[in-house]
Amino acid sequence: MTAFLSSINYNAWIVPVLLLLPAFGAVGLWAHALLTANDPADKRWREVRVLAFAFFLGEALLSLGLWWSIDTAAIGWQAMVDLSWIPQWGIRFTVGLDGISLTLVLLTTLMMPLAVLGSWTSIRTKPHAYYALLLLLTIGMLGVFVSLDLVLFYVMWEIMLVPMYLVIGVWGGERRLYAAIKFFIYTMIGSLLMLVAILYLGSEASRIAGAPTFSYDFILNNVRLDPTTTLWLFGAFALAFAVKVPMFPFHTWLPDAHVEAPTAGSVILAAIMLKMGTFGFVRFALPLFPSAAMNPAVRSFIIALAVIGIIYGALVALVQPDFKKLVAYSSVSHLGFVMLGIFALTTESMQGALMVNINHGVSTGALFLLIGMIYERRHTRMIADYGGIAKVVPIFATILTIVSLSSIGVPGTNGFIGEFLVLVGAYKTQPLATVISATAVIFAAAYLLWALQRIIYNKLDKPANEGLKDLNWREIGLLVPLLIAIVWLGVYPKPLLDKTEPAARRLVEYVQTGGVKAAVNITHTAR
């Protein structure tokens, strides 16, 4: 495989192609909209969803080669492309991958076709616009993971907001406008300070370089700031990322956005967009400002927020009457584990954090898909409206059970590996926080099993549920890959862990030594 990929020079073009293909797709959908303007709406809808799925599938298949083509052990960015963009300001189109971004890029490209299949029958109004927005969203998400120029990164970071705002605001539930605006403003305000910080870093770098630059590598290797400035800049980045993660107490946009978004919106939010926050910490906040990240006060503060998020998210999830909101709050809890793992700064906990990132994408993505499926049938997300439906929809009930167990972190599923690694690693540096966080295994079982019981077990006592139809082949088919991932990553996580190991280990060493240790450990190329 590797030989074939290098024979077609795969690494040289794959990243720009992955970023461009969705744009072509969006144009293609637009063209379809124009060409078929006179066709019946039903026919157009049927065609456009196939067209959109084809683009996402193509994107996914193209991206698969990365699994083999990226040498994650190598020092230096892989599949790097560096083009001039706005030379006057030194802004370049620099993209590249390491093991960490590789896993997130693949998570994105592989989840998107499933999200489209999840929208297959539920989105019927303005389907062209809807799928085009999903395609544009993909550009932003992939862009965030691959950007190696700070301005490019910021542009990608903000680009995502618009399509997601529209997806929630147009195709969402009853309070969609409130949720969309809240989502937009919350994230926007969080990022504004980051823009200031980026501009500051850029001006410092330009001063040192003698020419304008926003290059990630250059800043990482050359910009050395006094401790106070470092703290401020770290804070600016951290705030932007903390909102996105979301960390307590910046999380309240999430439940609203999740609940109001259409299924695909929730899936993308949970599976991919939240990961940008944690990715931001790993790629930017930590390595750019190691001294701030190692500052005991800062570290304790962030870990405290992570632990609060873990417990608080779980407890609030426990009492949610709305299943979607319950899952949303459970995300706050899970992402708290990621933050704990990152800031505990051990190889094991960092690896665990990266694994929870992926796991949460798979499991919570699957949960939202399942909620979407049952919502499409019953038009309610309230737990109390269900009960005993395992009798009428056994396939749904079985899959929901497996996915819930994975979210609870039952051994044998992916959820266990991630949480276990976070905790067992974090204990070495943060024993108290870890022990408190470990109680979440109890709460997680409580909130999900209780919900599960009230939805699929107990008596089938609501007449409206008696006629529920079980999942169809499309729905089963789109869930099967996720179920495979759940078991595969739970039983044999080594392939995934191997991908992120070198980058995670280098990052931890680099930050722990306060960035003093030869920066070449994580900088990947010298320019």
Binding site: V319, F420, L423, L449, Y457, G467, K469, W473, D498
Partner: protein, 728 residues
């Protein structure tokens, strides 16, 4: 596990024998799970239409009715599953195969020198940083004993299940869960590292959850399953923390390495004590000890063979196994050992008192199990690991027999009530009585088990119970335990208390077991006139396994005969067998010498135990009058101490009021409505939005369009600025 890359570690003598196929042991039941699970899905599932949202309301009801979803009362409907025949073959079949393999491994092990455990590495599991975890199986004499019990007793219970469950519409699902349980249980006992052991540990909890809630349409069953899982998880939290401690302090999670390094820690130090105590917290969850025993009696909501397999013979003994497996750690922490023994003794005692007053035949056995598990913990707690494991084995025999026997009784009672459309309680002993006439085989077999559990000489329970109590007594002086203290109380005193509680529990065990037998089988029948004609012996597929178990319950004591009774059989077989695994740790507790009591003392101890067992049975026979009982529906509510016992000291209610409800209330009122929706969202998020709007409104008020106003404002501004510069 699918493609085991076989890497025999070193050149263990077992690697050349059938034991190299030990990975097949868990794989077989896993295969059974997959087949039965598939059958269950094929039988129950009907894939939905391509467009789930189309025509939602029109044809729903017709569809539901046409397919006859027997949503209510499913387990009463005698509709045999269409794949029941395959399930009957596959479900018990994989267990028979696994048991055969286990026996083969056993003989292989007997023929080689087992000073070293046999470690079979399958694949790299979590190679991360310093944590180089492999998926590996550890076969040593201890796991061999457990494997034999699990597959052997498990096989019998699987066979019994064919008779008990085959008319249930969820039959393949039942066997899928049961097979999955055996898979996880084997992973638990074979796991070569604590995390892999933990996989089995949580996995069996999961299957327990699924099986307790098997008839999930009843809220009480679903509740009980959920409760079991959550309470288990409280224990699992302890297990997790123990693993954190191991990794941080010993740098490994492999069982062998941990055992090696744990003994290098300071004796009785904080770390090793914390490790042991957190592990034991895990055990209290899994093995239903104080304070986490509350889930086990509820667990009886599952089908009765499940109670026999999971909640008597195997899963609940996992905690005992864990302590024995971690004997190196425990032997380094005498204080923690005292805690284990004391908690075990208190649990044995309190559960026995509750058992005295239960009316539900399965609840009697449930509390009896909790009590006997307490006994096992006394054994492993005082460092008599062999005694604890010995009782685990004999208990698996006689308690499985008791549960399956009660299953036969319930099966017959249920059938009788079903035939007459009566909705009385088929499990309440007040509705039974005199069943010996109708079910003579079950009657005799259950009496064997009763004599065994009561500790009547030469029955299996006598040997194991006696060995535990004797071990406690022997350690009252001259052991690390006697030298340690717990809350300022000398260890010797604690052990004396443990011993006395153990004796008292033995007395009560004899009483409540005799009571159960009296009320169920003796005296007049209270089932009802119409029902009586339907009472018969259970079919042979159910009584057959009982016969085998009865033989084991009667003669299981041969496994470890004390020297005193060397006339009966070979002395100390199990002692020798387990010596390589737990010998060193046991000797550490007894300060390097084999525990020794004089011949006279030993005779006295045995005499006391026998006297107590006989006294208990005699007391029950003389004092209890089955003839005076009336059926459940005519019985008055209990009062006073009986009421407290019948309601299990109201512990459930106490936990609910003290922990569950406050957690829910605080989460709802304070965290969600208060903090989340109120302060963060209401005050800050929406508040700032409101503030922004207010500023905007104020600004808009300034835009009056009156040029005069603008001029005034301009003037004031200019003056202010000038003033500011002037007086700077």
């Amino acid at each position: 596990m699918m493609h085991p890359a076989m890497i025999p570690e070193g050149a263990h003598p077992l690697a050349a024998t059938v034991a190299r196929f030990v990975w097949l042991l868990p794989l077989l039941p896993l295969l059974g799970f997959l087949i039965n699970g598939t059958l269950a899905m094929l039988g129950a599932a009907k894939v939905g239409p391509a467009d789930p949202s189309a025509g939602h309301d029109s044809d729903d009801h017709g569809h539901g009715a046409a397919h006859g979803h027997d949503a209510h009362d499913a387990h009463h409907a005698p509709t045999r599953h269409k794949y029941a025949a395959i399930t009957s073959l596959v479900g018990p079949g994989v267990l028979v195969a696994a048991f055969g393999l286990a026996v083969a491994c056993f003989f292989a092990m007997r023929s080689v020198d087992m000073e070293r455990p046999f470690l079979l590495t399958l694949f790299q599991w979590m190679p991360v940083g310093d944590l180089n975890l492999t998926a590996s199986f550890l076969l040593d004499p201890l796991s061999m004993v457990m494997v034999l019990v699990i597959t052997g007793v498990g096989m019998l219970i699987h066979i019994f299940s064919v008779g008990y469950m085959q008319d249930d519409p969820g039959y393949p699902r039942y066997f899928a869960y049961l097979n999955l349980f055996v898979f996880f249980m084997l992973v638990l006992v074979l796991g070569g590292s604590y995390p892999l052991l933990f996989v089995g540990w949580e996995g069996v909890g999961l299957c327990s959850y699924l099986l307790i809630g098997f008839w999930f349409s009843e809220k009480a069953n679903a509740d009980a399953g959920k409760k079991a899982f959550i309470v288990n998880r409280i224990g699992d939290f302890g297990f997790l923390v123990a693993m954190f401690l191991m990794f941080a302090n010993l740098g490994s999670l492999d069982i062998a390495t941990v055992a090696e390094k744990a003994v290098e820690l300071p004796m009785g130090g904080a770390i090793v004590t914390a490790m042991a105590l957190f592990l034991f917290l895990g055990c209290t969850g899994k093995s239903a000890q104080i304070p986490l025993y509350v889930r086990l009696p509820d667990a009886m909501a599952g089908p009765t063979p499940v109670s026999a397999l999971i909640h008597a013979a195997t899963m609940v003994t996992a905690g005992v196994y864990l302590v024995a497996r971690s004997s190196a750690i425990f032997s380094m922490a005498p204080m923690a050992q005292l805690v284990v023994a004391l908690v075990g003794a208190l649990t044995a005692f309190f559960a026995a008192t509750i058992g005295l007053k239960q009316w539900d035949i399965k609840k009697v056995l449930a509390y009896s199990t909790v009590s006997q598990l307490g006994y096992m913990f006394i054994g492993v707690g005082v460092g008599a690991y062999v005694a604890g494991v010995f009782h685990l084995v004999t208990h698996a025999f006689f308690k499985a027999l008791l549960f399956l026997g009660s299953g036969s009784v319930i099966y017959v009672m249920h059938a009788a009530y079903h035939a007459t459309h009566n909705h009385d309680d088929a499990q309440d002993m007040r509705n039974m009585g005199g069943l010996k006439t109708y079910m003579p085989v079950t009657f005799y077999l259950m009496w064997i088990a009763t004599l065994a559990i009561a500790g009547i000489p030469l029955f299996s329970g006598f040997f194991s119970k006696d060995e535990i109590l004797g071990s406690v007594f022997a350690r009252i002086s001259h052991s690390t335990l006697a030298e340690a203290t717990l809350f300022g109380v000398p260890g010797g005193t604690i052990l004396l208390i443990v011993y006395v509680l153990g004796l008292a529990s033995a007395l009560m065990t004899a009483i409540y077991m005799t009571r159960m037998m009296l009320y169920t089988f003796h005296g007049p029948n209270r089932t009802g006139e119409a029902e009586r004609s339907h009472l018969t012996e259970a079919p042979w597929i159910m009584t057959g396994p009982l016969v085998v178990l009865a033989a084991l319950a009667a003669f299981g004591g041969w496994l470890n005969v004390p020297e005193l009774l060397s006339a009966v059989g070979p002395v100390g077989s199990l002692d020798h067998w387990l010596e390589p695994v737990v010998g060193e740790a046991a000797l550490r507790t007894t300060l390097g010498a084999a525990p020794h009591v004089t011949h006279q003392t030993e005779l006295m101890l045995v005499g006391t135990a026998i006297a107590i067992a006989v006294a208990g049975i005699a007391f029950a026979l003389l004092r209890l009058k089955p003839a005076a009982l009336v059926p459940k529906k005519d019985s008055p509510a209990a009062t006073g101490i009986s009421r407290v016992l019948e309601n299990k000291y109201f512990v459930d209610e106490g936990y609910d009021a003290a922990i569950v409800q406050p957690t829910l209330a605080v989460s709802r009122a304070v965290l969600w409505k208060g903090l989340d929706a109120g302060i963060i969202d209401g005050l800050f998020v929406n508040g700032s939005a409101l503030l922004a709007r207010a500023f905007g409104w104020m600004g808009s008020q300034l835009q009056t369009g009156q040029v005069g106003t603008y001029a005034w404002v301009l003037l004031i501004g200019v003056i202010t600025l000038l003033g500011a510069f002037t007086f700077r």
